[in-house]
Structure formats: C-alpha cells, structure tokens
Amino acid sequence: MNPIAKNSPDELLIRVPEFGRAPLGSEAEKRLASLWETLPGWRGWLATVDHKEIGLRYLVTAFIFLLMGGVEALIMRVQLARPDQALLTPEQYNQLFTMHGVTMIFLYSLPILSGFSNYLWPLLLGSRDMAFPRLNALSYWLFLFAGIFLYVSFPLGQAPNAGWFNYVPFSSLEFNTGPNIDVYALGMVLLGISTTVGAINFVVTLFRMRAPGMSINRVPILVWGTLTASVGNLLAVPSVSLAFFLLWLDRQIGTHFFDAANGGKPLLWQHLFWMFGHPWVYAIVLPAMGIVSDALPTFCRRPLVGYAAVALSTMATMLLGFEVWIHHMFATGLPTLALSFFGAASMVISIPSAVAVFAWVATIWLGRPVFNTPFLFFAGFVMLFVMGGVSGVMTAAVPLDFQLNDTYFIVAHLHYVLLGINVFPVVGGIYYWFPKFFGRMMNETLGKWSFWVMFIGFNIGFFPMHIAGLMGMPRRIYTYSGNMGWNTINMVTSVGAFLFAAGILIFMVNVLISLKRGELAGDNPWDAATLEWSAPSPPKAYNFAVIPLIASRHPLWEDRLNEGEARSSLDEGYLLMQGRETLATTPLDAKPDLILKMPEDSYAPFYLGLFSALIFAGLLLHWWDFAGLMAIAAGIALTAWMWPGRKLEQSVPAMQPAKESEHG
C-alpha cells in the first residue's frame, strides 16, 4: 500500500484496527451501543437493519404461517375423519390442501430457518452484523408481503387450488379460469426474490464476516447447512420463478409454453418445477440438521463426532439433490434409462444422510446425555429422520413408486421428512436458543409435556398414512366412501393430528409463560461451546464489544477439551468503533482483510419491498399503468439505497477530512 499524505482524505481509507477491551459499562462499550442501537418507536421499527430484530421477525412470522397451515390441516382432518363427510366442498378442499402445502413449504419451512440463521449467524461467527444488513431487511419485507399476497385471495374463496406443485394443464387458463393460479404464480415470483437476496446475504456473510481465526474448518455446522442451502437456492430458485412467470404469461398474455395444442409441453412445467423442488427439499432440511449438529453436542457434553464428515455430507446431499428431480416424475412415461439413473441417484443420497445420522448417534453414544427438552426434540428428530429416510429409499425404487405414486404413502413420507427434519429441530432449537433470544429459560416441565404430546401425536397421526397409502388411498381426495376399508385409519390419523396440535399449543403456552416468568438465564445457561453463548442474553445491539480472536472449533470449551495450546481471546479483540464497523476476513483462513463500514438503519428496504409487492399487485389486477408507476417508484427506492455514501467511504469527501476523523 502506498504511503498516504497526512490530513488527506485518503487517510480514512487505511488504518490499523484498534485492539483492546470494552467491558460492559465502559466508555467504549457505551459508544458502541449508541452507534448500533436502533431508534425507538415505529420509525426504528420500519428502518431497523439489526439482524437480531430481523431474525426474530422471521421466526415469529414464519411461526404464524405454521399455525395457519396447521389450522388448514386440522379442518381437512375433520373432513376426512369419517367417510362421506360434507363439511367442505371439493373446491374448498382443493384450496385448503393447496394453501396448506404452499404455506408449510414456502412460507414456513425456509423462512423459519432463515430466522434462526439471521439471528444466529453473526453471533456464531463473531461479527457485528450480516454482510448486507439492508438486504436482510429487504428479504424480510418481501417475504412478509409475498405471504400476504398469497393469502389475500383466500377469504374471497379464490385461493390457489391446483396443489402446491401446480401441474399444468390443470392450472392453465382453460381449466382454471379464476385468479387463483395467477395469485400463486405472481406471489411465488415475489417470494423468490426474497429467497434469492437472503441467500446472497448468507453466502457473502460466510465468506467475509467470520471472526479472525475462525478458519473454514471451525465454523459451526448450522453455518454449513445454511450456506449449502443458500448456494442451492441461488442455483435453483430461478427455475421455479421462471416456471411460474411462464405460466402467468401463458394464462394472461397468450404464450404457448405449456400449451400442448400449439407445440408447448406440459412436462416442461414438471421439469422446471422439480429441478427447483428437489434442491429446495434439502434447503429446508439442511439448516435444521445443522441446528441439531450444533445443539445436540451441548446436551451430550462432548463435541460432535465427525465434524468434517458431517460438513462434507451436508454439501454432498445438496450436490446429489440437483440430480434426482426426475424421481418426482417416475409415472410420467419418461424413458426407462432416465428412471433407472435418477432412481439410483436418489438412493445414493441415503449415504450422506446416513453419515450424519451415525454422527449424531455416535455423539449421543459417546457422550453423557442430559435428557432435557431440547435433547428430546433432537433425539426424536434422529428417529423420525431415519423413518422418513427409509420410506424415501422405498419410493426411490421405480417399480414401488409406480404403485405408491399419488397415494397417502407419499403424504406420510413427506410429512415424516418435513416435520421430522424441520419442525422437531425448529421447536428444539427454540427451546435451546430461547434463553439467548430473551434472557429467560423456558419451563422444563411444560417442555417435556410438549415434546411427548407432539411426538406421540405425530406418530399416531402420520404413521397410519403409510398403511392407508399401501391400501390404495389416493392423496388429495376430499372424501371417500365407507366401504373402502379406510375408515379406522383415517379416524386414527385425525385423532393423532389433533394430539400433535395440542403439543404445539403446549409449546406456545410455554413460550408465553416463559417470556414473562421464565427463570433468568445467564450468558451461557447450557454451558455450551459456541461463540453466541459468550455474548450477553439477550445480546447487545453491537453483538460483540470486541471482535474476538478464535483458536478452535469450541471457543468456550477450550480449557476443558485441552485440544491444543492456543486459546481464543474473547474479552480482548478488535474494537472498531469509528462509526458502525466490523471486520472482514479472508474466505478460508479468516485472516483480517478489511475494516468494513456497515450501513445505518434505512427506510429504503421497506419502500423497495412495498413497491415491489405493488408491482405484482398491479400485474395481478391488470393495472398496467399502476404496475409501471410502482416499478419506477421501486427504481427510485433502489437508487436512493445505492447512492454512494460518504459515511461508508464510498465517495470522495466534500469537506476537509480532518473533521470527520477527529471524533471518529
């Protein structure tokens, strides 16, 4: 680097990072707090870019969607509890099962994991925020608006009604004339933008925002899971966004992509949808598996067995996940060779999955397990994962799939996978990190009750579905006749579903009670190993008063494990407080690379999100001028956002630089 003249503005572009301590209550700490804290009131609420705030919003919003999807499921289970019921019309049933799938798969599963990752990543990695705090805010607002968008036609009885994978030609204009499918198509494109910008943020954060010393082989598995999911999303989401956009063009502009009468191919829809769909399945389970890989060892009182194997198997799963999409299309008449290839690839996925399972089992086996609520959820998850995995291998066998395709066996499989690998780790994860989020412990007695009721209810509800499927009950039928032999099984399933719901209710009661009266948690109530537990509960706006130096994979267990000579430095580190600052490190070795200037709170993400949603509203209603106007407004919001900032050292200072650096 060239030597720089004194008092030139370029002096601001390079400096030695200050090193020291900033204990709670010190001058330095107070200054950091004033730099990073969000304004109180609604202004701060709309403008905040704090990853913790955004993470909690993600968690709460996604959980509300879980409850909505759950209520839809319960209504369906009442309808199906006995034969020949008439609680719902076929059309209402279609809308309910479609919205149930859309809600659970798109509005709950990934967003809830984004919530965890948004809240936890900077704390796990030893940073003060995500790489792009404002993009983080945009990602949340778009998710919220897309969720509202997808739900807005529901009360009018015009919700999406062609199933969550929305096959043409049933979803084409010819057979589905209402706005139902247009709402779904446009809403999914909007949601896709949210997912994409969120994924970009995670990817860049992993490569840039780790504390010095946290080399790539020391990052927690949750980070590996979310990274893999995010890279997968970057490659896969464009496929589904394009599919939905083309469908919308077919329906509203008169193009012929899926129009068999004019050379279009309905099967193109299935290809585009499942090329996205299968990687997506892994995107919504790998971070949840990461939650378990990080939290389970805490309750086994030992590090995870096979860290490298689990990290590699996470990525291997996603890689293979891009080569199995045809297993959703075995019954469409594709060549046998393609079926064999994709069937084999689907079975191969059981290898990396098994690596992870054996690593968890070995961690429990070799550890000294503490049987409290989070442990129960994680151990329960391992069991459900194995069951869902086995039914998955079964359906990967082409001949068996021909038999089971579109029966309740598939419904059972996907619920074992999605509830088992997503909901159970998520609820366990909330029990685990609740003390970090709110500074209070959750009630242990209610916690155990919630686990056992959920676990038993889940198995009573979903295991019989395997049998219903083997007995030939097709999925997505709104009722059945009493002489099919499915009566008992459906009644049992419905009872189990309500029992599972009761478990969720106990969990929610526990959350509400514990928020008010939970026992106060210290910084590290579980005596855990990872970095987030070194911060106060709840963490301060700036996360870490000093950016720590990391010497191992388990910064808080170093003395106990005594694996090496070096010790992480948590109380003494880089101060970086000339404005909102944090440290960027090199991608692999995490050596200090750059002092990053982080953006202030801003309204731009909210407005950009709002105007983007209004563009889609305009397209839905055919208000073309309005959509154009909103596009211009969104452009203005984006320009304001991108305007080079002096505070961020992006543009040449206009004044004498001395002033700036004085108090800086």
Partner: protein
C-alpha cells in the same frame, strides 16, 4: 496457555475493490442470474427439440443486423473497461467520455433490437417459437435497460465528483454487471440465431 496474537497491520477501510462485500454480492447475483438464463435456454432447447413443425417456423434467422448489434454491445463493454482504467489513472475527463460512449452504444443496441422486434411477422402469442423468442430476448432486453440505467447513474456520480482514483467501486461493480449482460447475450445469440443453422 498460548494467547493468540492479533494482527496489527494497517487494513483498508470500507469498500475496497474486489475485497469489498459489494463485489462478492455481485458475483452471487451473477450466479443466480446466470442460472435464470440457463433455465430459459433449457426451456428453449427442450421445446425446440420436440417441435414437430419447421423450426424456426419463419425459416432461418437473418444474421446481418443482429450480428452488428452484437458487435455494438461487445464494444460497449470495452468502453466500460477503458473508463474504469482511466478512473484508476486519475484521468477523470476521459473516464467520463468513455462511459458516455458506452451508454450511447448500449442505447443503440436497445433501439436496433426494438426494430428487430417490430420487423418480426409474429408476436409472443402467435406461436410457440414467438413465445420463446420474445420471452428470452425480452428477459435480456430488461437486463440491458437496467444496465443502461446503472451506467447512467455511474456517469452522473462521476460528473458529481463522487469518485476518484481510490473510490470507484460502484464503477467496478456496475461495469462487471454490464460485462455479464453482454456475456449472456452471446449465449442468447448463439442459441436463437446460430444453432438453427446447425
């Protein structure tokens, strides 16, 4: 107990060239945008390979004007590259001129492409080929228009004196986005204009 020693060397502050977050963000954006065009071309070849009628229905595409247009677009990338170099070498005036030329070339591409569109005997709704042709070139056109707006903003910021030889990251990022849009055009051009000759 060995204590970790901090690295106490000077570090760059803020958005420092290709070590900045913005640059990394752009690369991630290009990965996902590149995938989008990949899926578009997949759809094109998937449908074209199964077409029963003549493909393209109007006969082989004429190459002269689109070829010239391709050269215009590629030239604009060269001017962006030169503009950034001048900025690095403190030649602000030439940097502004070169950027302006790039914008004019980009606008030319848009105008010529619009003329191409209006000369077609079919539109999006006429037949499957028309749907594919206009959707794929339309997606690309949207990227070019956004690119021209970005370049115009960069030009404005240059004129306002926001950038100097140390602070010009937006030009690097915006310029690379433009290179990406040009690179994608080569794939689109090859798929739509050249492969029918095979």
């Amino acid at each position: 107990m060995a204590k970790l020693m901090p690295l106490l060397e000077p570090l760059p502050v803020g958005s420092y060239g290709k070590r900045s977050s913005g640059w990394w963000g752009l690369l991630a954006l290009i990965v996902t945008e590149g995938s989008l065009f990949g899926y578009l071309l997949f759809s094109y070849f998937y449908l074209a390979s199964q077409a029963l009628e003549h493909w393209p229905p109007d006969g082989l595409p004429k190459l002269a004007i689109p070829g010239i247009n391709t050269i215009i677009l590629l030239a604009s990338s060269g001017f962006i590259w030169a503009s950034e170099r001048c900025l690095k070498n403190k030649k602000m005036r030439s940097s502004i001129t070169l950027m302006a030329v790039a914008i004019i070339l980009g606008t030319c591409f848009v105008m010529i492409q619009l003329r191409e569109w209006s000369n077609k005997s079919y539109n999006m709704a006429t037949n499957l080929y028309g749907s594919l042709y206009f959707t794929i070139t339309g997606f690309h056109m949207a990227h070019v228009v956004v690119g021209v707006i970005i370049l115009s903003l960069l030009l404005l910021w240059m004129i306002l004196g926001y950038f100097d030889d140390k602070r010009y990251l937006p030009v690097t990022i915006g310029g690379f986005y433009w290179h990406f849009v040009d690179g994608v055009w080569l794939f689109v051009f090859t798929a739509l204009y050249l492969t029918p000759y095979l």
